[in-house]
C-alpha cells in the first residue's frame, strides 16, 4: 500500500476506526449518557468531513485501479458525512424519547457511511459489490432498531429480504459482465468495450441486471415497493438517513459505472432508463397523493425524486450533455437532501411514541401554534415541489434544463406534469398545518430545531444565490469523464 493509496482512503479508514473504537467505548458509557456516543459519532463524522475537504481537487487512481479518488467522490463523500451528522442530530433525542437509545445505532450508521464512501470511490466491481453490502447490512439492522415494535421488525425483514434479493441480481449482472469482458475493473471493462472484444449480449444482460440492483437501492419503479414500508417502519431518523444517503450512494455508483465504464452502452440502455424514470415519477407522485402518514408520504416523495434524478441519468446518455447532467444531478441531490432532512426533522419533532403523531391530522394547527416550525415545513414542501425561492426550484430548473438540452423534452414534460401532482400532496401538508385548526404536540429539542431552522434557511438562502453550489457541483464532475 503506497502512501497515495493510504491517503485516498484516509477518510474511510478514519470513520471505520472511529466507529470500531466507539463500539468499544460505548461499553463504558452509562446508559443514561448515551448522548455522549452520539456526540462522539458526530465528531468522528466531522473529522471525516475535514479530511474529505482536504481531498478536494485531487485525482488519484489507487490500489492498482480499484479505487478512484476524484472530486466527484469527494463531493459525494461530504454529502454522506454531512447527512450522517444531520441524522445524528435527528436521532439523539428521538432515540431517547422512544426508549431505544443504544450506542450501536451510531456505530452502525458510521459503518454504513464508510460503505457509501467506499462505493463512491469504487472503481472495480468487487469493490462495488462489497461496498453495497457494507452499506446495506448496517441499514437492515437500523431499520429494525426500534425492535420491540413489530413495524420496525417487519420493515427490517422486508428490507433485508428484498435487499438481498436485489443484490442477487446485481451479483449475477456483475458475473455476466465479467464473463463478457474478462475483467471486473472499470477501466478494463471500458478498454474491452472499446476494443470490441466484449460479448455484447452477455454484457447488455449484465448491465441490465446491475441496473436493477442499483435501481432497487435508489428505489425507482418498479423496484421501489420496499421503500414506503421500510421508511414507515424504521426509526424516523434512520428513514431520513436512508432517504438521503442511500439514494445519493446509489446514484453515485450508477453514474460512476454507467458513465465511466459503459458509456457506449448509454444509447442502448437509454430507453429503459427513460421508461424507469417516467414510471418512477408517475408512481411516486400518484401514490403519494392519498397518503396520510407523513413518513409514508415522504417515502413516496423520495421515490418521486428518484425519478427526477433518473431524468438526469437519461440526459447523461447524450454525450454532449453528460457533464451538465451529472452536475445538475449532484445539485439536485444536495437540494433534495437538504430539504428532505428538514422535512424529516419536522416529522421527528411531531412524532410521538408508538407511531403516533405521524398522521396528517396531527399536523393541524402547527402553522398557527408553532409558526416558525410551520414556516420551515412550508419551505421544505415548496422546495420539494420545486417552487421558486427555494433550492428545490433550482434543482428542478437545472435538471429540466439538462433534460431539455439533451433532447428529452417529452421526459421533461412527464416530469413537469407529475410535479404538478406532487404540488397537490405537498400542499396538503401545508393545508393541514395552516388552514385547519388543531392542537398539535411538538417536541422541542435544540439539535432538532437547529436542523430544521438551518435547513430552512439554507433552502431559501441558497436559492437566492444559487451559483456557488452549482459551481461546486460542476467542478465535481470534471474528473468523471
Amino acid at each position: 500500500m503506497t502512501q497515495a493509496d493510504f491517503y485516498s482512503i484516509l477518510p474511510i479508514l478514519t470513520i471505520l476506526l472511529w466507529a470500531l473504537l466507539l463500539l468499544l467505548a460505548d461499553l463504558w458509557i452509562p446508559k443514561e449518557r448515551k448522548s455522549m456516543t452520539a456526540l462522539l459519532a458526530a465528531i468522528g463524522l466531522a473529522v471525516g468531513v475535514g479530511l474529505s475537504l482536504s481531498q478536494i481537487g485531487q485525482t488519484a487512481l489507487t490500489f492498482k485501479g480499484m479505487l478512484m479518488l476524484d472530486s466527484f467522490a469527494v463531493f459525494l463523500n461530504i454529502i454522506y458525512l454531512v447527512s450522517g451528522i444531520l441524522a445524528i442530530a435527528l436521532s439523539y433525542d428521538y432515540l431517547k424519547r422512544m426508549g431505544i437509545e443504544r450506542g450501536e445505532y451510531y456505530v452502525l450508521m458510521m459503518f454504513s457511511i464508510a460503505g457509501m464512501m467506499l462505493l463512491s470511490q469504487a472503481y472495480n466491481l468487487i469493490v462495488v459489490f462489497l461496498a453495497i453490502e457494507f452499506l446495506s447490512i448496517p441499514l437492515y439492522i437500523m431499520a429494525g432498531f426500534a425492535r420491540p415494535r413489530l413495524e420496525s421488525e417487519e420493515a427490517a425483514l422486508k428490507y433485508f429480504l428484498l435487499g438481498t434479493f436485489s443484490s442477487g441480481f446485481l451479483l449475477y449482472g456483475i458475473a455476466l459482465i465479467f464473463g463478457a469482458t474478462k475483467t471486473i475493473g472499470l477501466e478494463g471493462i471500458l478498454a474491452s468495450l472499446n476494443g470490441g472484444e466484449a460479448n455484447l449480449v452477455l454484457f447488455i444482460a449484465g448491465a441490465a441486471l446491475m441496473l436493477v440492483g442499483f435501481g432497487f437501492k435508489v428505489a425507482v419503479a418498479p423496484f421501489h415497493e420496499w421503500a414506503p414500508d421500510v421508511y414507515q417502519g424504521s426509526p424516523t431518523p434512520a428513514s431520513a438517513f436512508m432517504a438521503v444517503s442511500v439514494k445519493a450512494a446509489g446514484f453515485a455508483v450508477l453514474l460512476r459505472i454507467f458513465l465511466t465504464a459503459f458509456p457506449s452502452l448509454a444509447q442502448q440502455l437509454m430507453p429503459v432508463v427513460w421508461g424507469v424514470a417516467a414510471l418512477t415519477m408517475v408512481v411516486g407522485n400518484v401514490l403519494a397523493i392519498n397518503q396520510t402518514n407523513l413518513k409514508r408520504l415522504l417515502a413516496y416523495s423520495s421515490i418521486a425524486h428518484a425519478g427526477y434524478l433518473m431524468m438526469a441519468f437519461v440526459s447523461a446518455s447524450n454525450p454532449n450533455q453528460t457533464g451538465q447532467a451529472v452536475s445538475s444531478m449532484l445539485y439536485y441531490l444536495v437540494a433534495y437532501g437538504l430539504t428532505t432532512f428538514g422535512a424529516w426533522a419536522v416529522v421527528v419533532s411531531l412524532e410521538q411514541a408508538e407511531g403516533k403523531g405521524l398522521d396528517l391530522d396531527d399536523y393541524a394547527g402547527v402553522g398557527q401554534k408553532y409558526p416558525w416550525l410551520g414556516a420551515a415545513m412550508l419551505v421544505f414542501m415548496l422546495s420539494l415541489s420545486g417552487i421558486p425561492l427555494t433550492i428545490g426550484f433550482w434543482g428542478k430548473f437545472f435538471l429540466f434544463r439538462t433534460t431539455v438540452q439533451a433532447g428529452f423534452t417529452g421526459l421533461a414534460l412527464v416530469g413537469l406534469l407529475t410535479s404538478l401532482i406532487s404540488v397537490y400532496y405537498y400542499l396538503r401538508v401545508v393545508v393541514y398545518m395552516f388552514m385547519r385548526p388543531g392542537e398539535p404536540r411538538v417536541r422541542r429539542d435544540s439539535w432538532l430545531s437547529l436542523v430544521v431552522v438551518g435547513a430552512a434557511l439554507a433552502v431559501v438562502l441558497l436559492s437566492v444565490l444559487p451559483s456557488r453550489l452549482l459551481e461546486m457541483a460542476a467542478q465535481a464532475v470534471l474528473r468523471l469523464q
Binding site: 437492515y140 425483514l157 429480504l161 451479483l171 465479467f178
Partner: protein, 99 residues
C-alpha cells in the same frame, strides 16, 4: 464442456432461486433460495474465470461467500427477533405496512 452449459446451469439455478423467493413463505427457505441465487452467480464467476483464464472471478467468489455469510447472520437474527415477538415466522403475516 462448452461454456453455454455452465451458463445454462447457472441460469436455471438463478431462476430456481427466484422462484423460491417468490413462492415460499418460510423465511428460512427464502434464505436458502437467496443463497441459491448467489451461488448461481458464483458458478458463473468460476466458470468464466476458468474460461477466460483470469483469476478475478474466483477471487470474487470468496468475497461473495463472506458477504453472504454476513447477510445470513443478520437475517437469522431478525427472524429470531420476530419470532420472539410474534411467535410465527410466516412471511405473509408480515404485511402490516402497506398501501
Amino acid at each position: 464442456m462448452p461454456m453455454s452449459y455452465f451458463i445454462g446451469l447457472s441460469v436455471v439455478m438463478f431462476a430456481m432461486g427466484i422462484l423460491g423467493v417468490l413462492l415460499r413463505r418460510n423465511p428460512l427457505v427464502v434464505f436458502m433460495s437467496l443463497e441459491l441465487m448467489f451461488n448461481s452467480a458464483n458458478l458463473l464467476f468460476v466458470a468464466f474465470s476458468a474460461y477466460h483464464q483470469v483469476l478475478d472471478g474466483q477471487l470474487f467468489v470468496f468475497f461473495v461467500m463472506t458477504t453472504a455469510a454476513a447477510e445470513v447472520a443478520v437475517g437469522l437474527a431478525l427472524i429470531v427477533a420476530i419470532f420472539k415477538a410474534k411467535r410465527t415466522i410466516d412471511l405473509d403475516q408480515m404485511s402490516s405496512l402497506k398501501g
